[in-house]
Amino acid sequence: MKVTDEVITNTTRRWDRAATTYCAITFLFSWSAWVLATKEPDAVLSIAILSLNVTVTRHHALALIGNLAPGIVTILMLLVTRKSLRPLLVQLRFPRCSKFLFLFSIAVPVALNFLLLVAEDGMRFEADKTYVVLFLNTFALNLFLGPLWEEFG
């Protein structure tokens, strides 16, 4: 395609409208879920999927739904506008980048939160190996939760 000023302007307008609509729906979706999470927060929801029974508080369930909204809205908008999901999914391929960046992405947040504990305990904080197991378990639990869906958005 020959890129002219008209092509750029038209594409810009189309994207601006799509981006604004996306933001409005995502904010409405997430904020509604979070506001609802504050009403009757201790109410319990039981979800049965095949033989699996999951019990969560209404507060946690709605807070989680609000966190997932950016990704859910992205997928819904692509489906409604009949656009391909491929450009979105292709961004989840294995990245071509240095090992340093992988190490940076995992180690720096850990170091920053360790710094928070050290600052809190006035240099008296002692790391325990149970924290490593706890970290790995929580990391695995988080793999398919908020971050994936937020970054989709």
């Binding site: 933001c23 997430s30 071509r96 960046l101 992988f102 992405s105 990391f139 971050p147 970054e151």
Partner: protein, 129 residues
């Protein structure tokens, strides 16, 4: 991000995304997590810095989501462990952490500035073709 890169420089696009992301989190912090005003301000500043880091990782890995997702998961995991170990944090700890996060965000952006500009140009080309 690609939408903003069409009309704005990489720096302005990241600034806009950071603010939008910070505002999006505000209801979560105020209503759901019920943090104090000070803690909210620190978290807001932290989220803005965090999104600069995530955007840099996204751009330098040629618009790939894996590195930002890994960083974000590691960050959330670390924070939830901190909350379990120390449920109440002092102001100075939050200030130290937010400042260090900002220093890292600025250094990363500065260090990879050429790759970011190149990635922004590629993104514009890709969307227009």
């Amino acid at each position: 991000m690609p939408a903003l890169l069409r009309t704005h420089s990489a720096t302005s696009a990241v600034a806009a995304i950071s603010l939008i992301w910070g505002i999006w989190h505000s209801v979560l912090y105020v209503l759901v997590l019920r943090v104090s005003l000070f803690s909210f301000a620190m978290n807001f500043a932290g989220i803005v810095a965090l999104s600069v880091v995530l955007a840099t990782l996204y751009m330098v890995s040629d618009q790939n989501l894996i590195l930002p997702i890994l960083f974000h998961i590691s960050w959330n995991t670390g924070l939830s462990l901190v909350n379990r170990i120390e449920p109440t944090l002092h102001a100075h700890s939050l200030i130290v952490q937010t400042l260090v996060l900002w220093v890292i965000a600025v250094m990363l952006w500065f260090f990879y500035r050429e790759e970011i500009q190149a990635a922004a140009a590629r993104s514009l080309e890709r969307t227009l073709s």
